[in-house]
Symmetry: C2
Subunit: 355 residues, 2 copies
């Protein structure tokens, strides 16, 4: 790739994933057929689906009793599917920002929602800590990485109720104790594959306990029973996901991904803290390793547009912050090389000198 | 492509679509960024989405008052979304086979279903004709092409109630009078793109008339209001769809697609009717142009496996019939060249001589 890709998503993927996918689109595994034109019922694609599940389990060290499925519709559809499948009377939603709110909104269609734990009063600049998890709820929902506000939950909670986690934007960036979760879901388009597939890791024993009638396609059990082939799955993103998982393993697994995430984000936060032009927007103990949000210090606010032009001229894309926070956001997903962080840090230093 | 691809879906796409998609995955429109890694909020992808809508409207000559949206989840998810958005009390489902049944099953979760018009008693070997469309229903649902049984509805019904059509497997194979439909939907993976996107063409005035609470992602209006960008859309299949639509236009539009479909299917049905080994499974007036189902005549039944080996050796894939019908199925989608039909017909002739 010829650009430093800081997009929030769809975003940078390993060159290996991109090249192998392009190759398979021209000829899938030497079959003489494009990956786009291969029946999902052919044993050659069946092998891809099985490998996707197997690699997911290997990379995240998923214990037995959990299923891994791949669905369409995006993580946003999971905001509805989670309560549809799990919510009997009340659920606990930790409110850490836009995505957490969107998830809670859908849950309210299916039952009561306790969302009193929130950092809204501080524009979501921290992850609430030390709160009690209500035992009378069916599950607790968290958004582990908040792309818009730049905060991240880096612990696996010891919870008396099942933890449901939207890990769309930080899956595979650290080892997880999956046994502490009831369900983990996420869109592919950050650390896994191109947009169009959503992964769900679910503890089997949690399913089948609600009374409502669930449409077939919205019932997790449908997809578990058919190994994600109840209907035609999104073939290309699943293939790409397999390639990214292979790349993660080749590069030392999620332990190494975590090491790199810490190195990359530390380097950038250090520069933000050092540089007289910039400041971070988030409490230090809640800073995300994936989504680094920062703004110009008040006295330099009018330099924001100029800085965006400055980095653009150095082949960096995707650094404009979300309108809810303003300023800048650098997404440091797994596949972003250290060279891109170095380029950004250098640009910040050079821009400081010039201004 | 090096094979004659008769898969039922995912299935053959134009070489142009395949090559342009592979190229964009390596470098999207000269941006230096892969199509897989490009933010959907970037103006370069915005242009793709707008072009997809525009080309859909152009190719199908869609009148004003209709919206075109692109969703994830497959046509199977539409089986639930259609009644969720449109069914107030009762709907009429014409039962022409497996897919029609699956659609009706989901509708029953949301209201009453009249599905008395059916060809089930004859193993779905014909399209019911001359029936009265019940005026007391909110809409009539049809499956225009029945991939499993090989029948096809080739008329645009004059209906007193809105017609909802699943056109997953024959969209773009003939000109349509869209004004006679309330909603048309379909999965992409036959005549449009790789699997992972579902198109919906909906008459705007039909929406907003049900009382039930619809989850945000399952509400058509959400996606209309956001031009299919409420959440991250399946970027690669939408790009591929644009390329196929361009290919259709370059090749003379849906009128020419219809001409080719008639030529290809006529040539194959003629050989089925002539050849002493084979027979069609469907009433002649209900035969599909897209999904040609045929079996061995009773006295040659034991040659079926041998014929499958015979065509396989001639680089043909996907000819095994669905287990509900047995025998053979040749899917003749738009992108299947006449040469592939010629190769199959020649194989049938040669096999006849040898046996």
């Amino acid at each position: 790739m010829k650009k430093h890709n800081f997009f929030a998503g769809p975003s940078v993927l390993p060159d290996y994933t991109v090249e192998e996918t392009a190759k398979a689109i021209m000829d899938f595994n030497g079959t003489g057929i494009s990956l786009m034109c291969m029946s999902h019922r052919d044993k050659s694609f069946d092998a891809v689906m099985n490998r996707a599940v197997e690699l997911f389990k290997q990379v995240l060290d998923i214990p037995s009793g959990y299923s891994v499925i791949f669905l369409g519709g995006g993580a946003s559809l999971q905001f509805a599917m989670v309560p549809m499948n799990l919510l009997r009377s009340k659920a606990f939603y930790v409110n850490t920002g836009t995505w957490a709110n969107k998830a809670a909104k859908e849950a309210k269609l299916f039952g009561e929602v306790d969302d009193h734990v929130s950092s809204k009063e501080a524009n979501y600049t921290y992850i609430p800590k030390g709160f009690e998890i209500p035992k009378d709820c069916d599950y607790m929902h968290i958004t582990t990485n908040n792309t818009i506000y730049g905060t991240e939950i880096l612990e696996d909670y010891n919870s008396p109720i099942p933890v449901v986690a939207d890990m769309s934007s930080d899956i595979f960036s650290r080892p997880l104790d999956v046994s502490k979760y009831g369900l983990i879901y996420g869109g592919a388009q950050k650390n896994l594959a191109c947009a169009g597939v959503t992964f769900v890791i679910v503890k089997d024993e949690l399913l089948g306990k609600v009374d409502r009638a669930i449409p077939t396609m919205l019932n997790y059990q449908t997809h578990i029973d058919k190994n994600s082939m109840f209907n035609t799955p999104p073939v290309v993103p699943i293939f790409a996901g397999v390639k990214t998982l292979e790349w993660i393993i080749q590069n030392g697994g999620v332990k190494e991904m975590e090491k790199r995430a810490i190195e990359k984000s530390t380097k950038l936060y250090d520069e933000i803290d050092r540089n007289k032009l910039f400041k971070g927007t988030v409490q230090k103990d809640s800073r995300s390793r994936m989504s680094v949000c920062f703004v110009m210090n008040e006295e330099y606010k009018d330099l924001e547009a100029k800085f965006l032009d400055f980095v653009k001229a150095r082949d960096m894309v995707g650094l404009k912050g979300h309108r809810s926070v303003g300023g800048f956001r650098a997404s440091l997903y797994n596949a972003l090389p250290m060279e891109s962080v170095d380029a950004l840090v250098q640009a910040m230093k050079d821009f400081e000198k010039e201004n």
